[in-house]
């Protein structure tokens, strides 16, 4: 799967609290149809601790890893303010048919995030040049225990398999305010901001 969350993505499933509907091309589209922003109506009362609250798409719950996009560039691990991302990799040499020389390719061996250290600042997601990391709004993930506190802080280091499962919960980004500048991915080439 090489789709990037929220970009003309028919292949991407959305979180359970987002009803499947309409065109999903929401990336900063100023004329996007009325859709998933029924979610965080400000009118709802306080959700009890046992109910699953409806969360806005930008909610920083957990970090999902879209492994197919990861080139093992290590930028996320380097930019993390408290170094909670653990990456291990090795290089493989391939001989593509018809190519003059063998090619080297980075292969990811381990990608883990220690949520016991994570500050939920989102810098890793911001610096990723290939959109391999995304916020998913889940917060009841393993290691935080039940709402009653059972099993809390059991295991807060989550490996690539668990991080990969959260990709299914990544919502498309919300359309931007009409007075805003178009989202960077919508801006014409040459005017896109540097990463």
């Amino acid at each position: 799967m090489t789709n990037i969350a929220g970009r003309d993505d028919e292949g991407l499933r959305v979180a359970a609290n987002h009803p499947p509907e309409g065109p999903r091309d929401n990336t900063g589209d100023q004329h996007a149809t009325e859709d998933q922003r029924t979610v965080a109506s400000t009118e709802q009362g306080g959700n009890g601790p046992h109910e699953q609250p409806e969360l806005p798409p930008r909610s920083r719950g957990v970090i999902a890893l879209l492994e197919a996009n990861c080139t093992v560039c290590m930028l996320c691990a380097r930019e993390c303010p408290d170094w909670c991302i653990h990456i291990a990799s090795h290089t493989e040499t391939e001989q593509p048919p018809g190519a003059a020389r063998p090619r080297k390719r980075n292969v990811l061996d381990r990608f883990a995030i220690d949520y016991g250290h994570c500050l939920y600042c989102g810098i890793c997601i911001e610096v990723c040049p290939f959109d391999a990391l995304h916020w998913a709004p889940d917060f009841g993930y393993p290691g935080t225990g039940s709402p009653d506190g059972d099993g809390a802080v059991a295991e807060l280091v989550h490996e690539r398999d668990r991080l990969g499962q959260w990709v299914a919960d990544v919502p498309p980004p919300p359309p931007l305010d009409p007075a805003a500048e178009p989202a960077p991915e919508k801006a014409p080439r040459g005017l896109r901001p540097a990463r």
Binding site: Q30, A32, R37, A40, S41, T42, E43, G45, G46, L55, P56, P57, R58, S59, R60, E79, P81, L119, Y120, C121, G122, I123, E126, W135, P174, P175, L176, D177, P178, A179, A180, E181, A183, P193, A194
Partner: protein, 387 residues
Amino acid sequence: MAAVTRQETVGVGAGAEHLGVDRVIDLGPLHPSAHGAYRLRLTLEGPAEAPVIAAAEPLVGHLHRGAEKLFEVRDYRQVLALANRHDWLAAFCNEVAVATAVERMTGMEVPPRAVWLRALLCELNRMLAHLVFLAPLTRALVGEPTAGTTAAQRGREVVQEVMEEASGGRIHFMFSRIGGLREDVPAGWTERATHALSTVESLLPVIRKSTVDDEGFRRRHRGVGVLGADDAITLGVTGPAARASGVDLDLRRDDPTPAYAELDVRPVLRAEGDALARVQCLLGEVEQSVRLSRECLRRLPSGPVNVRLPKSVKAPEGSVYTWTEAPLGIAGVHLSSRGEKTPWRLKLRTASFNNVQALARLLPGTAVADLPAVLGSFALVVGDIDK
């Protein structure tokens, strides 16, 4: 019989019983000052059943995490992720304070839309912080919640929801960047923010009724824990605690950013300086923040919210001091740079650190029975004291 003097340590908050203190002052569930558990060393006199405080000394440092040292090994974006943490109720205001320091040193121009959105989000943050402090005060004497408690908690929730929708965070917003904001607000956010403001406005009378308009509350808070204006100035007390004592200082009016300069900021002042006046100031400031936020929403210009940054942001050699009006007082940032991508020194002047000293001046003469009222009215964030 000669007056008996004895010493006692007092811990604030139910968790303080684990700190080995002689007495625990419980400020009720979820009082922000009780997180991190600060302690006081009191000298008491008078009869054992009705002791009166003769001297008080705040014992701080329990929550020291070395924030200023941590800043020195982080680039400016990483600094923001930490700078919004020492005062967890003023996260956005502190992000802006640090970002402003870097922008001033590099001579960066922040786009107008970002300037106005920052002012708006600062006011929402102020509302959030004050409502969090007001919520435990609305409880009746024995601790059971009143209509005001529900109203304060609901007010906090609606403000927190719009902050979360824009930034993705509920406490540590991490929405500021050097040169502006991380991204623009989502479509429909301004309407939902307007709606949240109306909700807070409609809840305020209910909160008032359980606090400053309640006869029992007024009786418990009037005339206790008085801080004089001179003492407030001498000790560097700022924010609503100082304005309750008549110190007419509010940086939103006295050293405004471009957006605040166009807003009509009228500092909420009282002269009494007692516990009641401090609560009245908190309420008055929520009201003012609703008004200022509305004005920000009305005047919000269109355009970009950030600037194109170089690959690594470096503040040029030199130093700068910037300050901003955080919910609890002046939050200052002294940034000294040697031209690298990390600060050479980033010194914080935090509101609660200066304000907590005032307890040594305002507590003597207070009966121990009045301590919950006095400490509950004196808003502090322990992380902001200890850094």
